[in-house]
Subunit: 306 residues, 2 copies
């Protein structure tokens, strides 16, 4: 029985659901991905979504389940609250909240909250990635960049989250692309590539002079009118300007020379690697998918000695 299923781990985000059936030896026995994130599950039922995926992987009845992400938000399944910063990553598993009224041991990990009145901030899901990435990050002070719709930059001191800052980069990119005059400038443009010179120049300009960010956004429009800026270059400049401000802001909060790690998966990884290189920042890259699975595994081990 050393290879039988030991537990189920789930990364339950706002718009995505990912489940892994994990064996006693830690191997992934089965995986499920769907769009049944918090937004969908809040309508169709969290228990029902979970049941259907457990059945699909033929999970034995009563297997323990560990969940991270938005399922623990106020609008989620069961509110799992927050650990306040400074927060030891190792303290996260014990703060998991058990889903009541079900026979199986289903627990949801808490998020992190920074209750500084001058810089209130929250995360939910990224703390589990950090828990999984911590071993690969080593000790000492470092800055961890976790790109996304709401990019998180985390100030880690050894295994403790000293503080963190969320930048609305991805969401601003979408809103500006679709709902401002720049929509005309970027019409027909493809996905932004980290290879784009326009992207890297825009990042470097924003890092050097972040105060001019909202002016540089308009220059995307003016560059189209006066100099025939192409839609691809326009979209690259929009993206680079926003990512550059994010980098400038995050770096402004740490001592110069603080090592930077990038926790990311997929296409965003290449873009942020290019952006950080354009800003002359050397980075260690850690896969975000592997990190969240490692974090859930660390949680399962701490909670159930699995």
């Amino acid at each position: 029985m050393t290879t039988g299923p030991a537990y189920v781990s789930i990364d339950w985000g706002t718009s995505s659901f990912r489940l892994w059936l994990i064996g006693r030896d830690g191997a992934v026995l089965a995986e499920r991905r769907s769009g049944e994130g918090m937004t969908v599950a809040a309508r169709t039922g969290f228990a029902e979504v979970l049941e259907s995926h457990l059945a699909a992987v033929s999970a034995p009845e009563g297997l323990p389940v560990l969940i991270c992400g938005m399922a623990g938000a106020k609008q989620g399944w069961v509110e799992a609250g927050y650990l306040d910063t400074p927060a030891a990553l190792a303290a996260i598993p014990a703060a998991a909240v058990r889903v009541p009224g079900v026979a199986a041991d289903i627990r949801i990990l808490p998020g992190l909250a920074q209750r500084d009145p001058a810089a209130p901030d929250v995360m939910r899901g990224e703390e589990t990635q950090l828990l999984g990435a911590a071993a690969g990050l080593g000790s000492g002070d470092r800055l961890v960049c976790m790109p996304g719709t709401h990019s998180k930059w985390v100030r880690l001191s050894g295994g403790t989250v000293a503080g963190f800052s969320t930048f609305m980069t991805g969401e601003l990119f979408e809103a500006i692309s679709a709902h401002t005059i720049l929509s005309h400038s970027i019409a027909g443009a493809g996905t932004v590539s980290g290879e784009s010179a326009a992207f890297r120049t825009a990042v470097a300009e924003s890092v050097a002079a972040p105060a001019l960010a909202t002016n540089r956004l308009f220059s995307v429009r003016a560059g189209g009118l006066l100099a025939g800026l192409s839609p691809d270059d326009a979209r690259a400049r929009l993206s680079g300007t926003l990512i550059g401000v994010e980098i400038a802001g995050a770096l402004s909060l740490v001592a110069e020379g603080t090592p930077v790690a990038l926790v990311v998966s997929g296409g965003l990884g290449a873009l942020y690697r290019a952006a950080l290189a354009a800003a002359d920042i050397a980075t260690t890259v850690i896969d975000a998918d592997a990190a969240v699975r490692a974090g859930l595994a660390a949680g399962a081990k701490a909670l159930w000695s699995l």
Copy 2:
């Protein structure tokens, strides 16, 4: 006949149309305001819109008409091109373009273009306000703030526009308010007031640390989750953060201590006065409506000795 009509002046923007019938003594004999800006007139016909308003004020046949604004854009009535910076304000009237194929002398003033590849920028309409405001601004170097959907900050040297920078502040405020997660935080909020402490604090924070602007936007959301930030304060912080970045960016391009003038009308005036005060910037305030009428009058005088 000294009080009879001498000419018609029009400020024809993207979404608004304003017409004044001006007497030989310079007095406003009649005024029209409508929503038939460029966007509407491009569908219904510029000549038709103009005709209907001329008839409504009983303008004599063949009266000269001077127009500024988006009617001179590529998508407007007749493209009136741009004067390139550095541009002498006094050179604007002579660069007006005559509308062809009509008996009356109808002219459209050009915009200004900054063809610097590193900071391309355009304006159309504000140059006429500047022409009208110039007398009140005096000589020497100064920075002129012209708030709006696309705020312009103009570096004037005597009567010459040395350069200018457009910030997408107003449009970003609308797009972020309606199309990001902050829409939940500000739901039900009223118009932002310059009296708001949350507004003034946000301005001061952005001026002090503009790199953190997109982080401070997310803190509006986090402040709602963690500290019960009210919708009114949330909306004020969103507005103050964006206006603060604009101020920081504009100031970064001029020598410290450069005098600042604010050309503005209506509710935005009180907001920007409060914002500039929060940033410790003393300002001269000039009414934008009066300035555009004065600029059109200066143009009519230069073109037709009226």
